[in-house]
Subunit: 550 residues, 2 copies
């Protein structure tokens, strides 16, 4: 079978797993000229009032209504499955669909509650979506690669990712896996199995990647929240492109585990985490998943079971360093406006703002990427060669890579450590610039230069990858949306390099209208608890803590 045949078969199988009663007839779907589809599932009339009430509800309401037996887990699961179905029809965000299994999980939770009067755990009856690479028993994990579509046809219970196992034991309902780019190594979501996943804020734009399907689905309210992963920005980019909350935690703090393309790569740590419409979901997930005693048996090898700190208190007035842009790529006008909003709101609330020096960030991004290609792209090439599927243009760094020696790798790792040291010093050095004489509390900068890039244009991930290289926790907070009336192209700007030029050229105020504008909140290694608290303050100042629920 050719790669196209395998892809067609795989897509047909996926499509067959949707419930006909939940599918919108093809001819009733909005045409490609309808760009913002966020409200379409509601406005179209295909969801019932009850389904709308359930899928629009904050997690606290869902829990309260489970507890009071107003809603059963099955009712909730069906509502999210229906909405996920429509979301998929609009933006192509799902890979594996297993509604029947999800309904079985939900039914057994309802039975348990009925019989015992107890909820099984904090996620009892909560529909959670999973990025395609997470391993769940009974499903494959093709990670956007044709040759992995059926290899294996399904994973076993033994293989299941530690976080999936834990969430299952705490009552989660699983029913879909979400789309990723080929091998999960690009900042957009497109592959030869399933094609492109679009951004529901504006279907001209990419949903980002690699946890792009999650970003699109969660924004479409097709799940309560989702689990993604991040080795260069893969949680944060799609969260930023869809105005979601996420945290790329310090490596080891949250259990992970799942299929990787670059198996054995350790020069840059990969982490998994939640993507949600509510910051409280992200916070709670971090607390629950790091609970040492309950989850000992579910640890992944890289997990550091230190527990979650409850005793982190912020000063009343925070000090932030802010970089409106890094030293390589000038952001879209929309993103710069977003940064200005953040600066103004924080200042108004009495927080102190100083300038962050981004020198060297662009170069560090290149080093981080050179770790990804240090095997000469062999792993990625083999995955392509297995079926002859073509490389996407973005993936050429893997196709063109030359394998390096371990000596060279060691040199690169030393170089990275030197850069990390430099950044630690830079952070500590902010003590000289603050009124308190102490270093900053946090660092704020764009998550991406794009407020959602047009398809194939998300060519620069340096705003996020730097913090993978540093292994500093970094989260995203929604600010606002791009506006064609005010986010005008900067006609006088002269791009400073090719990547900057590509970014500059890709912006068109009309075409990018309505894209998400997000800010990245960064802390020092292991200050995950503090970053989450700073995210809350930034969101409160920006008025976006309830961005999705009001």
């Amino acid at each position: 079978m050719s790669y196209k045949d395998i892809s067609a078969k795989k897509r047909a199988e996926r499509d067959s797993k949707f419930k006909p009663e939940w599918l919108v007839p093809e001819e009733e779907l909005p045409g490609p000229e309808v760009l913002d589809v966020l409200q379409w599932p509601v406005s179209s009339g295909y969801l019932s009032a009850s389904e709308i009430e359930i899928t629009e509800a904050p997690i606290a309401t869902i829990r309260a209504n489970i507890k009071s037996k107003k809603w059963t887990a099955v009712t909730i699961a069906k509502a999210f499955m229906h909405r996920a179905t429509i979301a998929h029809q609009l933006v192509n965000c799902l890979t594996e669909v297993f509604f029947d299994l999800g309904l079985e999980m939900a039914a057994s939770l309802d039975k348990y509650y009925e019989e015992t009067g107890q909820l099984i755990g904090p996620y009892h009856g909560i529909p959670i979506s999973l990025k395609d690479n997470l391993i769940i028993r009974g499903q494959p994990a093709s990670i956007g690669v044709v040759c992995l579509a059926y290899d294996p046809p399904s994973f076993t219970e033994e293989d299941e990712s530690p976080n999936v196992k834990t969430l299952r034991s705490l009552g989660a309902v699983f029913y879909v896996k979400t789309s990723v780019p080929t091998a999960m190594m690009i900042g957009e979501t497109m592959n030869n199995l399933y094609g492109y996943t679009l951004n529901p804020f504006n279907r001209n734009l990419t949903c980002g990647g690699s946890s792009g399907g999650e970003g699109a689905l969660v924004a479409m309210k097709g799940s309560v929240f989702g689990i993604g992963g991040d080795i260069g920005g893969s949680l944060r980019i799609p969260s930023a492109f869809q105005n979601l909350f996420t945290l790329r935690a310090t490596s080891g703090r949250l259990p992970g585990g799942g299929r990787a393309a670059l198996v054995g790569l350790e020069s840059v740590p990969s982490v998994q985490g939640p993507m949600a419409r509510e910051l409280c979901i992200v916070e709670e997930y971090c607390q629950i998943m790091t609970d040492l005693d309950k989850n000992m048996e579910n640890l992944d090898v890289k997990f550091v079971p230190y527990g979650w700190r409850q005793d982190v208190d912020l000063p009343e007035k925070l000090t932030f360093a802010i970089a409106r842009e890094d030293d390589k790529v000038h952001p879209y006008p929309s993103i710069l406006r977003g940064m200005d909003i953040v600066i103004e709101k924080l200042k108004s609330a009495g927080h102190e703002i100083i300038e962050w020096d981004p020198t060297g960030q662009g170069e560090f991004d290149q080093l981080v990427h050179s770790f990804f290609t240090s095997d000469g792209g062999n792993k990625i090439k083999k995955l392509h060669e297995a079926t002859g599927e073509p490389f996407f243009e973005f993936m050429h760094i893997y196709r063109d890579a030359k394998e390096i020696s371990v000596s060279d790798l060691w040199d690169m790792q030393s170089k990275r450590n030197g850069i990390v040291k430099k950044f630690i010093k830079r952070w500590d050095g902010t003590a000289k610039l603050t009124s308190s004489g102490k270093p900053i509390d946090g660092l704020l900068l764009p998550t991406s230069p794009y407020s959602g890039a047009p398809l194939n244009k998300n060519q620069y991930c340096g705003y996020t990858s730097v913090f993978n290289g540093l292994d500093w926790p970094a989260g995203t907070v929604p600010v606002t949306r791009a506006d064609k009336e005010i986010d005008l192209k900067e006609v006088d700007y002269k791009p400073k390099n090719d990547t900057d030029q590509l970014c500059y050229d890709s912006y068109d105020a009309d075409k990018c209208h309505g894209g998400a504008i997000s800010v990245q909140v960064v802390g020092r290694k292991l200050q995950d608890e503090k970053v989450l608290k700073m995210m809350k303050i930034v969101a409160q100042c920006c008025g976006t803590l309830d961005y999705w629920t009001t």
Copy 2:
């Protein structure tokens, strides 16, 4: 200059730095037939009564006498310098000698105390020895390599290791650096610059390595304690061979930093830590050095500032899994007797003992070592080629190594992660074997198959390297000493492989008499606090908590 000329020059320079008044005349030193030299500095009459009192005192006494002004920092420093001088004459354990600098540090501490009435920190006036690779301003760090003897001639303040900087700020007095094997990648201490460092328990034996000079010096009471490092057993082997306490902590928990030979190697983490005659010194060091707030500016890039847990409580009765031997090398009869003592003492105290299955440990040791040679030995070869210094027989794995590709390295790292997973499962699986139905609290096994190996015979580090591969905390506790009358060679034992044969052949009850017998106490990742508490219980049961101070 030939490598021999450089070595001769370097040795002559070192020798010139001793104070003539502290040197024992050559002709008065004991001959090579005197094997146990532990008491010689005292019994020989070369130390004054006051110097003996100071150098034999527990750290608590030293502190009390500093505080009460009975002893000044200078007096204390001189006593330890004198004793270190004699120790060096007996076992050849020092590399860099900077008594004048140490006396200046001590004098300035005395002045500070005189003027302010305050001690500068918990290490005020405490003489601490440093493994040769630790960077201290004003000194070189040749790490047993001829071409590094003067490259650089001395390091700057900027280069200083974070732990050295921190200890300095807390009042430590530095005055010596201690010997290491060539490039610190062997379990014995010998190199072409300085020759062999001998074991003061029995000068037929090696002091172990790579922190071998520390092991010998601390056992000779030439410092209050020392700082070494461990990537395959380098803290634990010399600690075991000299019956000292140490902890190879989970990577990242203690600040480190210093010169490495395999710069950029990260597949196996290197950690630094204390080696001491008192367990309380090890415990206190861990607490002080992980204190987040005070030492923020001194962090090394791999440091994870979790802080030290004060709330770790042990159950009254502990459960240990014990492996008297691993699956590759059968220990000396002395070591097996030591394990039997430990088992019996723990059982008598009411603790539960089950068997640990060591299957796969020998193979894992090989994988750990293959990471060390994954650059084809290039770094080590270049260090040798620079001056033409010859390879020691032990180092042939570096000379003969072939460089591998990053693809192969990634495969090896994956393999390692799979093994780690297997060991986690094995640990968790002990729940089926314990009376409580819970997994074991700790794992006990020999630190080495040797109770001190004869020179050139310490060919197997698998008992320690496995826990570097697993990144599990592991400490050493003294048990007793080898006894030629009872630790008879096992005439009927049939070695199971070449390494086992080498170990078996190297044992001679007479020649190995008096060697140190130690036990290794191991916990799960990040359970460093628990391991230290278990070490205390093991030492209490074995009656060795005061091994050096009574």
